[in-house]
């Protein structure tokens, strides 16, 4: 009697295919991924029909994963170096800082795993980004709580937009496969849902920063402008080397 529920479940999963482009599926993927549905489709007797990746798709994916790893590395270092000077003056921020740091560390671990799994090389400027991120975090924390929060605001604004761009490209890719009658494998469903979850968490940090007086930093426009330009430049470079 053991195989019966499995068969039923796989039949149910195939009769209502998950479409990534609909809004209902989007909620489902970003918040509660369903492992039951995934095992149902992958152990199905009809193997999913997957399209080989084109060289340009591969190039996009490898540069996307590389830049994401570099970004999360920088984020963990920014929070690490911001925390001690900031908590000296504002001890009540300890839970917030440790919460944000833990999320960034989990993101970094996620991308480290993805890079190793998909054989993507890390950025060659790894040591440079480490030094710059530590300097940025420490420098803004020394300037005060408002500047530190403005730094978070600027960085997370750029990162949120950056992740959105990647998700958009991936959805186009996946939509193209669906239109051509190919299946979308677990690999890409998972990747998209991971990126969505991380994007949401980054935007949550943005909200925290604004709640904690990020926009009272003086001069706010200069600080965020410089940091955002720096972020954009770093993203551009990390996508390439």
């Amino acid at each position: 009697m053991a195989p019966t529920p499995l068969l039923l479940r796989s039949a149910a999963a195939t009769s209502t295919p998950l479409r990534l482009t609909t809004s209902t599926a989007r909620r489902l993927l970003s918040t509660t991924p369903q492992p039951a549905a995934s095992t149902g489709t992958s152990t199905n007797e009809t193997k999913p029909k997957l399209k080989p990746l084109t060289p340009s798709q591969k190039a996009f994916l490898s540069s996307a994963l590389r830049v994401n790893q570099a970004g999360e590395l920088a984020a963990t270092l920014i929070y690490t170096s911001q925390t001690p000077p900031l908590l000296r003056r504002e001890p009540h921020l300890r839970p917030l800082m440790s919460h944000m740091y833990e999320q960034e560390a989990a993101h970094l671990l996620t991308f480290n795993t993805l890079l190793a799994k998909h054989r993507v090389r890390p950025t060659a400027l790894y040591p440079l980004w480490s030094v710059l991120a530590t300097g940025l975090g420490w420098g803004t924390a020394m300037m005060g709580k408002e500047a530190a929060m403005a730094c978070t605001e600027a960085v997370e604004t750029e990162i949120g937009g950056h992740y959105n761009g990647q998700i958009r490209t991936l959805l186009e890719m996946v939509g193209q496969w669906e239109a051509e009658g190919y299946d979308v494998g677990e690999e890409f469903r998972e990747l998209i849902s991971t990126l969505r979850r991380i994007r949401d968490e980054e935007l949550e940090h943005l909200d925290h920063a604004v709640e904690h007086d990020a926009q009272k930093a003086q001069p706010h426009w200069l600080l965020t402008g410089v940091i955002r330009a720096g972020c954009k430049g770093a993203i551009w470079v990390s996508e390439r080397v």
């Binding site: 080989p52 990746l53 994916l61 054989r119 090389r121 040591p127 494998g185």
Partner: protein, 282 residues
């Protein structure tokens, strides 16, 4: 009768033996038909780039999607694998290619689909030996229980043994690979080999050691390969010891740099903490 001539020429290029009838055909028709065995050019956008030099270096590796096609077309593979059998006697030379083309049932002239000549044969050797490593991994006894460095050593040794059959001709091949035209492709192939070995060994580091690991393994492999061409000891035992010594040296250097880095970062953070404890606002 041009259509018939084209058909005859096509037959000639297929694995067949009809040679005498070709005399009455204009050369043009034969040449036109010879394009059939050329790799597809830009006229067919559906096909992916074939040449090794055009492929992206170590791009995203999908675990579920179908792998990219071989960089060699079926015709090229047929001729090259037949030619490869002649390498121990005739070397990495155009004559091996011509013999291979004949053995595979093609005209001698069909080696013109390899504009790089003997280097194509070398590329074939490098490509097939590199891709064969994944299969050889399973035949290494106790691979799963080995440490990372032991795995790298075992895989590098397996790859060196892949040169065993052609080792008498390998110095020639190295000389061709060192020519300015081919140096880039050869170094890239070496880098891909180092990457393959670290990947198969199960290395998951994605920090700057990713680069140092691959660079040092490339250097060690290239040195061992050169050493092996002059090794006359039974079962290449001298090469085996040479490889072990080089890997041990690299390990020592790695340990030393790691210790220095650890000491530096500990001292720096301890210094900052001392200053903070003294009330310096940093």
């Amino acid at each position: 009768m041009p259509p018939n001539c084209a058909a005859v020429a096509r037959l000639l290029l297929r694995p067949s033996t009809a040679t005498a009838t070709a005399t009455s055909c204009p050369l043009r028709a034969i040449r036109a038909a010879s394009t059939l065995v050329r790799p597809p050019t830009s006229a067919s956008p559906q096909t992916t780039p074939r040449s090794l030099s055009q492929s992206h270096p170590r791009p995203y590796h999908s675990t579920t999607h179908p792998p990219p096609p071989s960089p060699f077309t079926p015709t090229e593979s047929a001729i090259l694998s037949a030619s490869y059998a002649h390498v121990p006697t005739h070397g990495f030379t155009p004559s091996s290619l011509a013999l291979g083309a004949r053995a595979a049932g093609y005209l001698d002239i069909s080696t013109s689909i390899f504009p790089e000549g003997a280097f194509s044969l070398i590329k074939w050797h490098l490509y097939t030996q590199r891709t064969a490593l994944a299969g050889k991994k399973d035949s290494i006894a106790g691979f799963e229980s080995m440490s990372l460095t032991e795995r790298v050593e075992a895989l590098t040794w397996e790859r060196l043994m892949g040169n065993g059959e052609v080792v008498g001709r390998w110095q020639e091949a190295l000389a061709i690979m060192a020519q300015p035209t081919y140096v880039f492709a050869s170094v890239k192939e070496l880098a891909e080999l180092a990457d393959e070995i670290w990947y198969l060994a199960g290395d998951v580091s994605v920090d700057p050691t990713w680069y140092t690991k691959r660079a040092s393994l490339s250097a060690i492999y290239a040195a061992s390969e050169l050493f092996m061409t002059n090794d006359r000891s039974p079962d290449f035992s001298e090469t085996w010891h040479f490889l072990r010594r080089r890997l041990a040296e690299a390990g020592e250097i790695g340990d030393a740099t790691r210790s220095v880095r650890e000491w530096l970062s500990f001292t720096a953070s301890a210094g900052v903490n001392v200053l903070r404890s003294k009330g310096v606002p940093i």
